[in-house]
Symmetry: C2
Amino acid sequence: MRLATRAQGEPDGELLVVSGDARRCLSAGPRWPNLLAAITRWDVAEPALRALDARLAAGEGTALDESELRAPLPRSWQWLDGSAFPVHGRLMETAFSSPPIETDKPLMYQGMSDCFYGPTDPVPFPDAAQGIDFEGEFGVIVDAVPLGISAAQAMKHIKLVVQINDWSLRALALAEKKTGFGWIQAKPACSMAPYAVTPDALGAHWRDGRVCLDLAIDWNGRRFGNANGCEMAYGFHELIAHAAATRNLVAGTIIGSGTVANEEFARTGSSCISERRAIEIIADGKPSTPFMSFGDRVRMEAHMPEGAAPFGALDQEAVRA
Amino acid sequence: MRLATRAQGEPDGELLVVSGDARRCLSAGPRWPNLLAAITRWDVAEPALRALDARLAAGEGTALDESELRAPLPRSWQWLDGSAFPVHGRLMETAFSSPPIETDKPLMYQGMSDCFYGPTDPVPFPDAAQGIDFEGEFGVIVDAVPLGISAAQAMKHIKLVVQINDWSLRALALAEKKTGFGWIQAKPACSMAPYAVTPDALGAHWRDGRVCLDLAIDWNGRRFGNANGCEMAYGFHELIAHAAATRNLVAGTIIGSGTVANEEFARTGSSCISERRAIEIIADGKPSTPFMSFGDRVRMEAHMPEGAAPFGALDQEAVRA
């Protein structure tokens, strides 16, 4: 099942169920006005939404106008972003001669959740000298998760899978990281691709709590990366268990994978500029790829092997705030 | 003006305007069903709430049952906690032989905002060996703040002042801090004292973006600290400007001061156990005060010089989750 959110006066938008070919949709209606309401009562909402999905499969529905779509969750109560691809961390540490992070747990920070930009929204930044960068990621949306849950039990709480661009300001990031407090200025609002899908919609590509799909990233129309989501050191279920060790997770919590990265980065490319610069530093002693300029575009779209894009595309321009 | 939130079926509760003596109240009514709704349209809500406040001053209203009160904001979209009292950081660094944090900006992390416990809620923790600690703080609630605002302009966006206990798990905190990613497991939900007040209600004790009041902290009935909120290195307006440097702040964002601490800590005591332990380590080479046990209570209440408690009291028990 594939869900989307249509622009509307309301800050949370209008929840749609979308056909597999993304050509038709049915409004979820007043009982489930938006995705935040639906995920809060997913036990009741899911059967109702699946019934609409069956009607779409039978040919019902109205034409979908993709230009009206926003982030599936335009805002939520909690966004917890992991950094679960080991090769990404290793490249960054090597390039910047940082000592490896000493931890036997997943890395995770809490970020801004009150705004997720929609698929084609221009993204405002105050200053291009702050090192504007994208980070291609996958994420999951959970229903309410109780404190102390095991990773195995957490798997059942993964209700939807999403694709995210975790925009970052690299010139500010290292200084904030050094404080130990995580990121405020270096991590403004993220973007979310238009479709949230149930794990079953990914078929065999949803595996061990991982999205085993290539995430194509094009910067100003040139292929930049096409790394696969499979190489997470921790699956999303393990990230959830980590997050819920001392807190209940509110329904609608979004958990991120961190920048998708592969051991074969020479073949797959990278999912953020910073990682490519790290590779350049290791190879050449200095980076040669600049960060983004105002007016630059980045497009992100994960593909099934046969070419379908389950989450749709993020295609956005960085603009001056 | 003093606001509170009454328990109700709704997750956001019911907004009340409360008389100066906390004996009477008026419901804000269906137009402003809860504080999150009111702060989102504060330009319109404030005059309506002030009109109710005038009616309370004229003797109207029904009896207030304090036992029904929850956190003024039981949940919000964003909680950004500073660490603005320099003596607290210095003591911690000295005790643990940590290098000083190198930054010319305020320290701030983003924490869990989907749940703020109410004034007498028992607070669940999974394991007393995790170093259960309280942190007495002040905080402010803002309306929508635009990206790039100056500190001077930010002052106008401080609509309400609150008193917070930022519960912390110290055995988990240092390891998370070392990752640079901030705190997930070490910072579960906070608590908020029952009354949110407009800055004018603090009179001359609201000064330069600081709450210049003593915050009395009693642990199991014994006075533990009574530090004054005046010694922030950055005022709340400066913390807001820091937070808004690269993001718009959503209405209802709560900004925290960090643990209230004074240079004369020998006289004022501390607002968290960890700081007292740091003082003990510096003096004696080792800490002698343990962290909290299940069944322990902590009470926090800021006082005006004449004894009034503008935010009311937090009085809670730590319990096993």
